[in-house]
Amino acid sequence: MPSFDDPMLMREVIMDHYQYPRNHELVQDDARYEQVNMNSSTCIDNIDVQAYIDQDTIQDIRFDGEACAICTASTSIMTELLKGKSVEEAKAIIDQYMNMIYERPYDPEVLDEAIVFKNTHKQANRIKCATLGWNAMKKIINHETGGDEDD
């Protein structure tokens, strides 16, 4: 796990993922992918997330949409972190991420770069942004991709 106690470093990671978001293109008409649109009621981020899960493993994750730096970077980091993981592993990582965001005890080991969002609670109104992509992934894993609204 990289050490991100230096705010300068954390900022760089976020800026890098914001300016060059990874996995930032949706596939078209590929039935293997499940897709969910996340459109927050309290912020203006609006992203689509796709994932292709096979053999209990997350083969691919993609996203696109219009979103702020926090949402874009956190989703980008999420796609990198969860790709290739088993569904169970992914669930555990998402849980740890949520623990971190909501100031509960969490395991930094599994979060890798995602720990740059550990200060989100200081700007509580950004929690939505920092979790939107992650919640999208949770929905896909749980096959709850029906509603058009996050929670």
Binding site: S41, T42, Q123, A124, N125, G147, D148, E149
Partner: protein
């Protein structure tokens, strides 16, 4: 339950007078007094954390959002709703009932379908059904009351038929005050695919109401009849039904996006029903009221009010001049008249002695077809009323003959 201590919480119970006499408020069916914690929460919103809800781009609005959503959880707890998202904030019980009629009944009922109500229903649980029925070609029919004014389970069974799609009844009516056998009705209705709408305006404030146990499909009530502010109410609905319900107001906050071609995508419940700026201080005030009531305990409140009502009935029955129409109801208001005195003249007499009661048809304007008396006086209690207040009230009942006194 220490009534004297509870009364200390209510500014309206601190030395107020009417016509120079200590105020005795027995019109709790119309609205209730507000305890300090409710007033304080409203003042806090207006003085310490003013901002709009659901627009959180800064800490202040985040505080409002959090408090606002917390009330959904509080209300869910009060009525034991499984999911806070089943709690929709409306502007009152009337607004909630109109929403069910317009948003659910209108899109689910058609030609020849039937809505069952009873003659003791409040106008708010009558007129919206008339309107919808007229618009879709359905019928509003009545479940008969028994001779004591009750809706009996057997009569419900007889009334229900293949056309029945909705049964809409008050849990406790605002004039007669009997407690409806909600659970039995829901069981019977659900076996037949009938939706049950319960008007809880006069029950939720006064007794424990458990939506999972009773299993109604929709429940409505108003904050102002349960120590909360006016202009805010609740619509509880089973989540799947709320999903099928169309909002009656559109605007900011209820849509997730739309374009200039008119393609609109609505949010999920409850947000889709809460278009526009909600009554924010109303909602946080309702939250404070719910917490206040739960701290006392709805069981306790129900038990005490039952005792109070029984005492009032007993004392009133000692007065020959008084005619009571619902002596044997366990809950709710006492509907009565002073013999040979028009109800409004009686209310004036009470007013002269500092006692607030209501006269009239109490918005249940078709009840006269059952009671055979067109207007009544209504005394309705809340947990802050006392036996001493009832004694004073009964003394005025005895003066009924001199009702013109009030005028000189």
């Amino acid at each position: 339950m220490d009534i004297e201590k509870i009364r200390q919480d209510f500014p309206m119970l601190q030395g107020k007078t009417m016509q120079g006499k200590p105020l005795i408020y027995l019109d709790n069916g119309a609205t209730t007094f507000k305890p300090k914690p409710v007033i304080d929460e409203i003042v806090a919103y207006l003085s310490d954390y003013t901002a709009n809800a659901h627009r959180g781009d800064y800490d202040l609005s985040y505080v409002v959002d959090t408090k606002y959503e917390q009330v959904r959880a509080d209300v869910a707890k009060l009525i034991n709703a499984p999911n806070p998202k089943e709690i929709v904030f409306t502007y009152g019980a009337t607004d909630s009932l109109n929403l069910i009629a317009e948003g659910y009944a209108k899109t689910h009922l058609g030609q020849g379908d039937e809505i069952l109500i009873c003659v003791a229903e409040h106008a708010a649980n009558t007129l919206p059904w008339f309107k919808v029925a007229r618009e879709v070609g359905a019928q509003v029919n009545y479940i008969d009351l028994d001779e004591t004014g009750r809706v009996q389970m057997e009569v419900v069974k007889r009334a229900v038929n293949d056309h029945t799609k909705i049964i809409a009844l008050a849990h406790v009516t605002n004039v007669l005050g009997h407690v409806l056998p909600v659970k039995e009705i829901c069981d019977y209705a659900h076996e037949r695919g009938i939706i049950v709408v319960i008007d809880g305006a006069q029950s939720v404030p006064h007794m424990p109401v458990d939506v999972q146990d009773l299993d109604m499909d929709f429940l409505v009530f108003s904050a102002h009849k349960m120590c909360g502010p006016t202009g805010v109410g609740v619509l509880y609905g089973k989540y799947d039904l709320l999903k099928e319900t169309t909002p009656t107001r559109l605007g900011g906050g209820s849509n997730s996006r739309y374009n200039s071609c008119g393609v609109v995508s609505l949010k999920n419940p409850p947000e889709k029903f809460e278009a526009g700026t909600p009554n924010i201080e109303g909602v946080v005030g309702l939250g404070a009221a719910v917490r206040y009531l739960m701290a006392i305990g709805m069981d306790q409140i129900a038990a005490y009010e039952e005792e109070l009502r029984a005492y009032a009935v007993k004392r009133m029955q000692e007065v020959d001049l008084v005619e009571i129409y619902n002596a044997d109801a366990k809950m709710g208001p006492i509907a009565f008249n002073i013999k040979n005195v028009f109800s409004q003249d009686a209310a004036s007499l009470f007013n002269k002695y500092g006692i607030a009661v209501r006269a009239g048809q109490h918005c249940a304007k078709i009840l006269d077809e059952y009671l055979k008396v067109s207007t009544t006086v209504r005394a309705s209690f809340y947990f802050y009323n006392t036996k001493e207040e009832i004694d004073a009230f009964v003394e005025v009942c005895k003066k009924g003959d001199d009702f013109l006194d009030a005028f000189f």
